[in-house]
Symmetry: C2
Subunit: 384 residues, 2 copies
């Protein structure tokens, strides 16, 4: 197991492999090489002053006769919580707003058009505690809570679409909670919201203590820079979730997450990348970093002693492309901003080469799935 | 790009990384380490005499109170065509039977219970030529063709289930062709057959010149050693194809393939492995090796000059487990036999931890997909 101090796969390979082999290994692991973006020096200075990593890559597409390149820059933000989880709620939210404000400033310098923060970004990931107060106080209205208003200002200031995953308090429907991403247009208007469709019941992540499966289906948001969707966290394990966003036209699917080393680190490079391949779209996998300690002990259903943390979030945020290429990951343990320039023309180009939608036989699967969920379904098993 | 001479990712990493880093890198790339199987010396001798690679690994599961371990050994075979593609058809088939007979002998020594050969294993992968004769002469009856009879003998002799992917001639339905896998019980009886559900139209792989999408749905075969299914080649790009085999109860899904370096090598480690994770089952990805030259020139729809080959098959066959671990790959350029011992209890154990089926919301997707395929479907797109 890699401890939280081990920085990144890419760093290790670059340090030890001879250049010729490194090139082959990178190709086998990450497909066609992504071009390093040239970002402003000032952005690197600010990142260094702010103690966060900054990396930038570009994915290219073939030239077409009738369409110009459709380039968009996305920004993926991964970060620790700046204050301890037992600091007052308002102070924690405010510190996170300040942290994100600083990172968004650098993103703007780097020409980012769409920025996405990590899952439940205004709070520690406290659902492992199963306690309600004070954690439920982090919930806000998606439409006009302080965080949405903060993001509207950011969006307008930087002419940037903001994807803001928060814990939502739904005052219109019995004051219930949802795990929601608010999508804010670069005009500053709330374009809409989307909810986490699949809720984990895994170890410390039984989030159904707090909220239920999303009821908004698979909306796709038409922004000035392209059509985007948000598959929140555990939804990345469900290929059908990615598929429906893609069927609805998503060219970029963000996957803001919060997941830890012992649980999922060897799945992380596989799932969002598989989704980009299978659906001819870009996917952006974002995970938080750091360790979070909670005031009261809790157990994890794994036979171990009660404890106050649930391990380290391993960061490693990355962007994957429809041609199976991907960027390196951000660090496993530092705050970071990953800037990726996508030429969205690549989606249709790969679609036309690989044809997964044309050959997908969705009628057959709609029929088979509808049968399979019936209580009296008899699986197709051939016996001797 | 890695040329065909570059042997394998694992070999390169083992050569260059310091032991402590190697251990971390392996964990990040391949999950929980698989145990090396101790195989008989005689098996290694025969593999060396026969000039093929032999590797063996075991996947373990937690001990349960009520179920004993359900261990099964699978054998994955990857091979070159032993004779040139322009040798007489009967000679080529016979040479392939002899080659596979020798490898199966070693598999038997290694205690393999279920063996699976590569896609269309009795022939060169000639579909790139778009010629009919002589290639269609490689087609055989799935029920009683010479290759099925050959496999029945193998199965009986070694008490081994045989998965035999062939080009099928269907005499009962207008003498059409199919891309089919015949499943033969260890008793020697033909248990049944299953057909390639998704047919590529990609570059040199427009196989719809020869056969159409399979019409047998997603059958699962109950063998003495576990429930198995076969997702042939291009079906690995379709997450719903894997899903339906799993919904029907497959514990091991074989993916016999034929795919080349320039086309798919960076997708190869992703897709079958994602399927194992997403469906709580084992997947076995098998690809042929070597280059195949055809008597007449053909073009590839890529603007390049006519040529007589379509690059090299990169082997790299591997087994992936539901817990996101996987074996190393076989070589990229040598014939090989990969033996993997699976404890099938792991499937239900991981299912109970991660709950992807319980949280899958298949009713919703059956409904959404049925809507989405309607000609007048209007995608869920939110606009400002």
């Amino acid at each position: 197991m890699a401890g939280p101090k081990w920085e990144s796969l890419e760093q290790c390979l670059e340090k030890h492999l001879p250049p010729a082999d490194l090139c082959v290994v990178k190709h086998l692991l990450y497909g066609k090489e992504t071009r390093k973006l040239s970002l402003p020096n000032r952005a690197f200075e600010l990142a260094s002053e702010g103690d966060f990593e900054l990396q930038g890559y570009a994915f290219e597409a073939a030239k077409e006769q009738l369409r110009g390149p459709r380039t968009v820059r996305v920004g993926l933000v991964q970060n620790k919580i700046p204050l301890p989880a037992d600091a007052p709620v308002a102070k924690q939210v405010s510190a996170l707003h300040r942290r994100i404000e600083a990172i968004a400033e650098v993103a703007a310098l780097c020409g980012v058009n769409i920025i996405c923060f990590q899952e439940a970004w205004t709070m520690p990931f406290a659902f492992c505690t199963r306690e309600k107060l004070p954690w439920t106080e982090f919930a806000e209205s998606a439409e006009d809570g302080p965080t949405t208003r903060f993001c509207q200002k950011l969006a307008k200031k930087h002419d940037m679409v903001v994807v803001s995953p928060i814990l939502e308090r739904d005052g219109e429907h019995g004051d219930v909670l949802w795990n929601t991403a608010v999508v804010i247009s670069n005009s500053g208007k709330v374009l809409g919201k989307t909810r986490k469709n699949h809720i984990p019941r895994v170890g410390d992540f039984n989030e159904s203590t707090y909220y239920m499966e999303g009821n908004l289906g698979h909306p796709v948001f038409q922004t000035q820079f392209g059509r985007i969707a948000v598959n929140i966290c555990y939804g990345r394990h469900h290929p059908l979730n990615w598929l429906m966003y893609s069927v609805n036209g998503a060219e970029i699917i963000f996957n803001p997450s919060a997941t830890i080393g012992t649980l999922s680190e060897s799945m992380w490079p596989i799932e969002a990348r598989n989704a980009a391949i299978a659906n001819h779209c870009f996917t952006c996998a974002i995970n938080r970093v750091g360790e979070e300690y909670f005031p009261n002990e809790f157990t994890s259903g794994d036979g171990k002693k009660a404890h106050q943390d649930f391990g380290y979030f391993y960061g490693s945020s990355y962007v994957a492309a429809p041609d199976s290429s991907r960027t390196p990951g951000l660090s496993r343990n530092r705050d970071g901003l990953l800037v990726a320039e996508l030429n969205l023309n690549l989606c249709r180009q790969v679609n036309d080469v690989w044809n997964f939608k044309m050959t997908g036989r969705y009628e057959m699967y709609a029929r088979e799935l509808a049968e399979a969920v019936k209580p009296n379904y008899s699986p197709n098993i051939v016996k001797e």
